[in-house]
């Protein structure tokens, strides 16, 4: 139970007092904060409209002349609202948060190069190193073109991974508490997330390499 800082009503944990509409500094998970069911598939437009509607009611700017306790509750409630929105808005951070909620973690051993892209990773890293060594000398247009092509490949893989993630989320939402299915989905989710993390780093390295070559 939580207590409203304004009308002192006690109620189930929530951010907006059901009686007087004042902010309450409750501690809730990201889904509960936004009043969403625990489902991984989220429509970004719906999410944004919830965030904006709640922000309008909770933001400290609405309570500029209120007593300190109410202002403090508004500040904490808005901070939680914002954090929850940001966590759920982005599919990757949503997935990481989901693992956390289920007592799982994307552990260090999951950060090893995912097998399906291992070969590509080594090739790209070699090319970037080559480009770096050539820096200062004549710009190797062939090499730059080759790396540019690689970048497109990586981008394609990233798109694939994003689709895989969405598919994984849909299956979670239909898993209906089936323990075996959930264990499988957890493993798959970890795999996809670490693949995405790898691809992100790689694309960033490629961009940096190309930028410094261009400079």
């Amino acid at each position: 139970m939580v207590q409203c800082s304004s009308c002192a009503r006690r109620c189930e944990p929530c951010l907006i007092c059901p009686d007087c509409g004042s902010p309450i500094a409750a501690e809730l998970d990201c889904f509960a904060t936004l009043g969403l069911p625990r489902l991984l598939t989220i429509d970004p437009n719906h999410l944004e409209s919830i965030y904006h509607a709640m922000g309008r009611r909770l933001h400290p700017d609405r309570f500029a002349s209120s007593p300190d306790a109410v202002r403090d509750a508004s500040l904490k409630a808005t901070a939680l609202l914002t954090r929850s929105y940001r966590t759920l808005r982005e599919p990757v951070s949503r997935g990481l948060y989901w693992l956390e909620l289920n007592g799982e973690k994307l552990a260090e051993d999951n950060k090893r190069v995912p097998l399906e892209i291992a070969e590509l990773v080594f090739e790209v890293q070699e090319q970037i190193a080559e480009l770096r060594d050539a820096a200062g000398g004549a710009i190797e247009t062939d090499l730059v073109t080759a790396i540019g092509k690689r970048r497109q490949e990586l981008q394609g893989l990233m798109q694939q991974a994003t689709q895989d993630l969405a598919a994984n989320y849909a299956r979670w939402d239909q898993s209906d508490g089936d323990q075996n299915a959930r264990a499988m989905l957890t493993m798959e989710l970890k795999n996809i997330l670490s693949r995405i993390a790898y691809l992100r780093t790689l694309i960033r390295d490629v961009d940096r390499g190309l930028e410094s070559a261009a400079a």
């Binding site: 904006h52 922000g55 933001h59 400290p60 700017d61 609405r62 904490k76 901070a79 914002t82 929105y85």
Partner: protein, 623 residues
């Protein structure tokens, strides 16, 4: 309801505005009609201060010291004073953080401490104290113009101001006797003014190139919600830098000692500023600098000026590209950005406009005066805080990442830059050795990987912790950034649930004790100031009505009944007695009462005057 005013505390000029119904209005100086108050403060050795035009008038009386430092002799007794411009460049910074060109402009006590201190004679001033003078001048201006007290304000700051600079701005407000309800980022404020005017929707880029700072903010505006997606900038890049480049051009070929002469330099800066402004409309101008015994004459074309400005403008564009990237929007010539708004005096330069248009691929908007738009936006936010403009809500971001120093001197980010505020993050801390009773935490701000390359924001000590084996205690530390972009830290022992005291020692800026002391000194001057001014106004009102009444009682004796005369004289006597005292409210109330009581008498005088005029007229007509 007491209104909330909006203040643009600028590097070059400052303004105050307030909502007049649905429209933000800038309040001009009631005497000159100028909406801008130059952010210039003259400090006299006897402690008096002049602000704005008055301070500028004191500046030509500058005497040049041997060491080339600025000082003013225009004060009684010929003692040395100082005229401080662009104090904003010093706000919230330690001496070691000053830009090279800012270090030698004035005399400082020492530049090693967490706060720079201006030395004027035997007196010492911190930047918030000097800024407070500007704020106080704005407060006075608005109070005199509107005859209402100014107490609650919104103050704008560059979006790229760090925690210390924001805190210093809040301190200045407190020192000026103001309640700072909110700090708002300048580009965001500008977007509010535009948004109110145009009811805009879509992605808006605000390019704010002012006198001393540059900011770029990218916002998404939807249904009255102004959500900042990303911000970037440089707190040491502005029109001042263009002036400096021009001064170098004007003084090129002059002997070194002449270039270092602050008097020469200041004159050159004034000429440079004029030339810069002229070149926004003219293709070329002649620069004339009169120096004792000789005159420097040079022709300056716009092309030459643009060549000097190009590098600085490119730096602003680089910030724009980074902000676009952080906002997840495409760069040049894509249609992701629906509108570009120009803010700040430096956006009057044609080359700036051209480059901005090239980068964003659309013609920038400048329908609201770029000098006024930030103050107007601050007034709009004041209206939002008062509960008006209920559909509007501003969601800003933290401009720089916040983190903590971890083992090996690495900066571990706790709150990433461009995170929407208010926001909070909770981190778990524990001990490294058995029976450790305190944990030291260093808070950092910046984007670099190593702690030593980031700005130290504060240090704090967690504890006392009950002696336990290493790694056992679990202390939850919550970092909360409020809507002003200022960090608050709280800590709780997870096992006992007990709140820990967190003694945060800011690495830069003024300590609470020092502010309290300054406040005590300032309160008598500031708060009483208003009370005194209002008392003087009330006494003047009393004098006016008393003199007029006595005169009328004498001249128009037949028009007043005996009983009425007695009542009027009795009330006038009471007002006179009150006027001698210092109860302002009593004086004002009696003035009003007397005004009311004498109204029928005044009306009779008026009617009689009209009757006489008519009679005279008819006599004239008859004759």
């Amino acid at each position: 309801m007491e209104r909330i005013f909006g203040i643009d505390l600028g590097t070059t000029n400052s303004l105050i505005a307030v909502m007049d119904g649905e429209t933000p209005r800038v309040i001009p100086d009631p005497r000159t009609g100028n909406p801008l108050l130059p952010s210039v403060v003259a400090l006299a050795p006897d402690g008096r201060m002049l602000v704005g035009e008055a301070a500028i008038e004191a500046e030509p009386h500058l005497s040049v010291e041997r060491d080339g430092r600025i000082s003013a002799a225009g004060f009684p007794g010929g003692e040395k004073g100082a005229v401080v411009r662009s104090v904003k460049r010093y706000m919230g910074l330690g001496g070691d953080e000053l830009a090279a060109e800012d270090r030698h402009r004035y005399t400082f006590t020492d530049l090693s401490g967490p706060v720079v201190r201006f030395q004027v004679g035997t007196r010492v001033y911190t930047p918030p104290q000097i800024s407070a003078e500007i704020l106080r001048a704005l407060k006075t201006r608005a109070e005199e113009a509107l005859k209402e007290e100014v107490r609650r304000v919104v103050i704008t700051v560059p979006a790229y101001f760090n925690d210390g600079q924001r805190q210093a701005t809040k301190d200045a407000g407190r020192l000026a006797g103001l309640e700072v309800m909110r700090l708002v980022n300048e580009p965001t404020a500008a977007s509010l003014a535009y948004g109110l005017e145009r009811r805009a929707t879509g992605n808006v880029a605000v390019y704010d190139f002012g006198g001393g700072t540059f900011d770029i903010s990218i916002l998404s505006i939807k249904g009255g919600i102004f959500e900042v997606l990303a911000t970037n900038g440089d707190t040491h890049l502005g029109g001042d830098d263009l002036d400096r480049a021009l001064v170098d051009f004007i003084l090129e070929g002059e002997p070194e000692h002449s270039k270092r002469d602050r008097h020469v330099w200041n004159s050159a800066r004034r000429v440079a500023e004029d030339a810069k402004k002229l070149l926004s409309s003219a293709p070329q101008t002649e620069v004339v600098l009169e120096l004792p015994g000789r005159v420097i004459r040079k022709t300056l074309t716009r092309a030459q000026f643009e060549a000097m400005a190009a590098g600085l403008i490119e730096r602003t564009l680089q910030c724009c590209r980074l902000a676009l990237k952080d906002a997840g929007l495409g760069a040049a010539s894509t249609t992701d950005v629906d509108a570009v708004v120009l803010v700040g005096g430096s956006t009057r330069i044609p080359l700036v406009r051209r480059r901005v248009q090239e980068l964003f691929g659309i013609e920038p908007l400048c329908s609201v005066d770029p000098d006024l738009v930030v103050a107007m936006g601050a007034a709009v936010q004041g209206g939002v805080l008062m509960g008006n403009q209920r559909d509007m809500l501003l969601l800003d971001v933290v401009p720089l990442s916040l983190g903590i120093e971890t083992m090996g001197g690495v900066m571990e980010r706790v709150i990433h830059r461009n995170t929407t505020i208010p926001t909070s993050v909770t981190e778990m801390f524990t001990t490294a050795v058995d029976n450790q009773t305190h944990v030291d935490v260093q808070v950092l701000q910046g984007e670099r990987e190593l702690a030593r390359d980031c700005r130290s924001l504060a240090r704090f000590k967690l504890g006392p912790i009950e002696p336990q084996p290493a790694g056992m205690p679990r202390i939850e530390v919550t970092f909360l950034v409020d809507a002003n972009g200022i960090l608050n830290v709280t800590a709780r022992d997870q096992r006992t649930g007990r709140e820990h005291s967190v003694d945060v020692k800011p690495s830069y800026g003024l300590g609470e004790e020092e502010i309290e002391r300054m406040l005590e000194e300032a309160i008598d001057e500031g708060e009483q100031d208003l009370e005194q001014r209002l008392l003087i106004t009330a006494r003047n009102d009393a004098d006016q009505i008393l003199v007029a009444l006595r005169k009328q009682l004498g001249e128009h004796a037949p028009l007043v009944e005996a009983g009425e005369r007695l009542r009027l004289e009795e009330l006038a006597g009471r007002l006179e007695a009150a006027r001698a005292g210092s109860d302002r409210e009593l004086v004002s109330r009696l003035v009003e009462e007397l005004n009311e009581l004498s109204t029928p008498f005044a009306q009779r005088i008026m009617e009689s005057a009209i009757r006489q005029a008519l009679e005279k007229k008819s006599v004239e007509e008859l004759s």
